[in-house]
Amino acid sequence: MDILRFATAGSVDDGKSTLIGRLLYDTKTVFADQIEAVERVSAERGEERVNLALLTDGLRAEREQGITIDVAYRYFATPQRKFIIADTPGHIQYTRNMVTGASTADLALVLVDARKGIIEQSRRHAFLATLLQVPHIVLCVNKMDLVDYSQEVYNAIHEEFKAFATKLRIPDLTVIPVSALNGDNVVSRSENMPWYEGTSLLHHLENVHIASDRNLIDARFPVQYVIRPQSDAWHDYRGYAGQVAGGVFRKGDDVIVLPSGFTSKVASVETADGEIDAAYPPMSVTIRLEDDVDVSRGDMICRPNNQPEVSQDIDAMICWMDEKAELRPGAKYAIKHTTRTARTIVKDLTYRLDINSLHRDESAGSLRLNEIGRVVLRSTQPLMADEYSRNRTTGGFILIDEGTNRTVGAGMITEAR
């Protein structure tokens, strides 16, 4: 059994909470006491039916205002897979949360209301999912019961979205007609839509192939921590602990340590259980080298014939996440990229992207909360940079405001130079 992480996007009106509630309920994930609590609260508030959104709204303010504030994580499992849902609110002001949820997702689930079809928000969600390089996208055409399960309605939405998707270069798109309220095509195939030849949503989630989404070509091992036991038994032990970010590492491999450029060979790849044959993403292991070279946190172990760009200058797409300060050219931030932290200055804001029209505004002078743009950064130290499209771990970074300590930006490297 493996794990599929998926992000859901949509507003309350799309029936997102109902869909998630349905998945949790039909897979027997919602517990009796949770159902009881929701029933009790719905009744106390005089609501006519059990409000499944209460299952997913966690905070007092959310329940009081009937809105979803933040990313919530939910878990369910079937005999095939364990699922982690990053449930993100869909309103425009929460682009930040959608980006956060999508950053680790294998799949993004975009919901549309069959009566309304593709709206601005659906395009925005699909765009953010592709910006974050989520490998699989599922478009759920919901509320099919309210359009008499019409194949024509479904086909029109499907066609419209496919045309839009071509512009975004979505690697894998699946479209499923559902009724979350009635459970059509959620867990099992619906008899109400005999014209639909695909699988149910859950069946798709259980079977979508994600093993090949990982980068097994470019060997990347950001060193997190140097293990040096202060004990007599392990006196000369020196191991480099980290999580494999790409490729495969084996004993005997020629390696280069960046940015220093020292070369050596892998003496062993280890876990607490002892030596292992090979390490691949996202395994947490310890690598030992044959030579006593200088390696510390923030360095990256790679193969000599396949190296990332080692550069202080990068171009990147930034999603700005701070309510208070704006990103402006000339501003300085802390940058955290893999295990390396440096300082960086915004040399240029190349353009701001209108995420609805995809129009590039080259005259923009700043990025505000939830805005996305392309920037040129110069850092105090070289970064071992891959394009984000090639590797989400070695291509992603965050910007931190050094005064407030807040995480203010999420960055995706487009080019190192």
Binding site: Q34, A61, I227, S284
Partner: protein, 305 residues
């Protein structure tokens, strides 16, 4: 493994969860000067200890462990807590609620429950030792408020959580920056479920306090919850003491943690039971979470885990 096979490899869910948790442990130890691991001797904290051990092997766990003892804990749990800390060469710091009551720094509520007064004792202990990063074993599947909490949970100088002012957390990049007095609570088990915990306990052959497995015990029924009769729970005149076959799903303060009826006396039976159960572990066993729709959120805002 041949390269062709490699392109189809899958890590099991336990391997994935463990790899992610070990990454979190290493990040914190690499970036913070004064980390500490909350350790009560309960199952989640024992799993935390195991993960920490595996993250830094063959070195020892590079931080002390801390328990806030309400003075009303099960002896089996405290015994294992002390033994594990000694075996692993760990400094065990105990923040004592009883001492705090005795010296007047907190006041015991009239009903004798000590959950709420744990928090000031925790905060005082953290402050005294100037801990900046505090590992906790909380999981997001436990509670609705926890479902929204970050892996690195930023706390102000009062240890308080502000759900509306959380740092975005992307990829596996964690922002642990703090000003003096502020701290980060770190939750490496965020993405684990109760069933994952038990499967891992089985997989790694981890020893737990015996009370997690079915045993006969004298209990009283209070509002549908079975509380053990012992020095902390004295039956009231109208309460009937009965002997039942029970086990604990969670372990905390004896006055607040209830047992569930169960025949699961082995790990395999417990896993089977957890896999088929229809009630959350906190809902079944924790008096402290029943007070209101938002009781966990309120306690977190005050500085609780």
């Amino acid at each position: 493994m041949a390269d062709a096979e490699l392109s189809n490899y899958q890590l099991s869910q336990l391997d994935l969860l463990e790899a992610e948790s070990i990454h979190m442990f290493r990040e914190v130890i690499a970036e913070f000067e004064r980390p500490v691991l909350m350790f009560s001797g309960g199952k989640d904290s024992i799993v935390m200890l195991k993960l920490a051990q595996r993250a830094f092997y063959p070195a020892n766990i590079p931080m002390p462990v801390l328990h806030v003892d309400t003075g009303q804990n099960f002896p089996e749990v405290l015994e294992l807590r002390d033994r594990l800390a000694a075996e692993l060469n760990l400094q065990l710091i105990v923040g004592s609620v009883q001492e705090a009551i005795d010296n007047g720094s907190v006041v015991e509520p009239p009903d004798g429950t000590r959950n709420r007064i744990q928090t000031p004792v925790l905060l005082e202990t953290l402050e005294k030792h100037r801990f900046q990063a505090i590992f906790g074993g909380a999981r997001r599947d436990e509670d609705k408020a926890r479902a929204k909490e970050r892996v690195y949970s930023f706390r102000d100088e009062f240890g308080q959580w502000d759900p509306k002012n959380q740092r975005p957390e992307l990829w596996s990049l964690y922002n642990g920056r703090t000003h003096v007095g502020e701290s980060i609570r770190v939750f490496p088990l965020s993405n684990w479920t109760e069933l994952d915990i038990w499967t891992y306990i089985e997989h790694e052959d981890i020893e737990l306090p015996s009370i997690y497995y079915a045993h006969d015990r004298e209990v009283v029924d209070r509002g549908g919850m079975l509380f053990a009769v012992n020095e902390f729970i004295v039956p009231k005149a109208d309460e009937k003491v009965v002997t039942k076959r029970v086990r604990y799903r969670t372990v905390g303060d004896a006055t607040l943690t209830a047992a569930v009826e169960s025949d699961a006396d082995t790990i395999d039976k417990v896993i089977e039971e957890v896999a088929s159960t229809r009630v959350t572990e906190r809902g079944a066993t924790r008096g402290d979470d029943k007070f209101s729709e938002a009781s966990m959120e309120d306690r977190k805002r005050e500085g609780y885990f």
